[in-house]
Amino acid sequence: MSHDRTDAGDIRRALGDHAFFAGMDPRHLDTLARMAMWSDHPAHSWLARAGDPPDWFHAIVDGRVGIEIDTPGRDPLIVATVHDGDVVGWSWFVDRQPWQFDVVALDDVRSIAIEVDPLLDACASSEGLRHELTTRLLRVVTSRLHDTRMQLVDVYGRDR
């Protein structure tokens, strides 16, 4: 993974263009841009491993990442892919929990990485930013919960 803080204006524009942050108050985008950087991940590299501290929150700009579960006795299994316009790593938002799953770059991936500690500080001091992020993350959680339920039902299994 390589990080690049070189062009703050570029990051600010990219945040404004990213689907997850669409419609966010420009002042909050300015705040986020100050704690964000470009992050590049070659294919097959890890963005995070289960149990890692939640230091970074990634908004995917290009490429796919896989959320992966490694179970002893069988090959690792990708249970969801996250694509450009989506985000990965939101456990930090709830009691700063560590990463719950492995996250692997399936392609060469570019993300906007946002540093979690200053982000939590900013949320603590700005109700507006906290509300904006809560609403957006709830959308992500709702969508993933829906997917997980459908996968749990195994709709494509035999006799269905």
Binding site: I78, V79, A80, H146
Partner: protein
């Protein structure tokens, strides 16, 4: 005046619309571990060519009869049936070998409105075996000059994706194809997640939407398409119940006012939305 035996003879033998027409299995292709596609050719007379989305009743002599969607039609009355082994008859169909005889009657039911989709932006969503009744529709749409054609294919695992060669061919024809599975190993180069998630991620309004697959998946994908702006009367789904006679006489496939063997399997979403919300239908 009563008809005499001579009168009947003069107009020929009466044709029983429920009599199966003998077909020979000419090819068997394994699609997955428990799904095969049989290619059948008529031995003498043939049935009418099926339109995309229609089904036939396939009779394995001495075992029984089941409804199967037609997944391809060819010259000389050939037709292909893609079948998963789940019961006695489907197991017998899957076990068929070239040279075996299977009785066919039909085709029955409604078809995907492919002609009406000409020139429009079409989304096709297929889950699992649901790609079989949509296969000929995609083939037809790809050659119709639709404004845009997007196909979302969902499956349980990568090796459960039907017709991988067709998927590649459709891509070469300019069709925007997205394949997604419920879980995958590292080497998988598609998406992992539900077909509904792909529809939502596309984030686009489509003029016409065709959906076929497990009912839960169809319901979810149809709603997602409507959220993106497609009118409910432009969403079509393919519903199955216990099709038995194929001619709306036995009532086993009844869904509210509909006999799905005649009024379906392809139905407009707004006609069945409320029916599908009733438990036990």
């Amino acid at each position: 005046m009563d008809a005499t035996v001579d009168d009947v003879a003069a107009v020929g033998e009466p044709v029983d619309p429920l009599a199966p027409v003998a077909h020979r299995v000419v090819a068997v292709e394994a699609e997955t571990t428990d799904v095969v596609t049989l290619t059948l050719a008529p031995i003498a007379e043939s049935v009418e060519p099926a339109r995309p989305g229609q089904f036939v009743m396939a009779w394995v002599f001495g075992v029984g009869e089941i409804p199967i969607s037609v997944s391809a039609v060819g010259g000389g009355g050939e037709l292909a049936l893609t079948v998963r082994a789940v019961g006695a008859v489907s197991n017998a169909v899957v076990a068929a070998r070239p040279g075996d005889t299977i009785g066919i009657r039909g085709p029955y039911g409604t078809a995907w409105p492919t002609d009406d989709a000409r020139g429009s932006d079409v989304l096709v969503v297929a889950g699992g075996l649901g790609l079989a009744p949509l296969r000929t529709a995609v083939d037809e749409l790809a050659g119709l000059g639709t404004q845009r054609l997007t196909v979302v294919v969902g499956a349980r695992e990568p090796d459960q994706v039907l017709y991988p060669h067709d998927v590649q061919r459709w891509r070469r024809l300019g069709v925007d194809v997205h394949v997604t599975v419920d879980a995958a190993p590292h080497r998988w180069d598609g998406a992992v997640g539900t077909a509904t998630a792909v529809v939502a991620r596309l984030g686009e309004r489509h003029d016409t939407v065709f959906v076929c697959g497990p009912e839960l998946m169809m319901t979810s994908a149809a709603r997602a398409a409507i959220v993106q702006g497609t009118e409910p009367d432009q969403v079509w789904v393919s519903l199955e119940r216990n099709m038995h006679c194929g001619v709306a006489q036995c009532g086993r496939c009844q869904l509210g006012p509909l006999m799905l063997c005649r009024d379906g399997a392809v139905v407009r979403w707004d006609r069945v939305t409320e029916l599908l919300r009733e438990r036990g239908r």
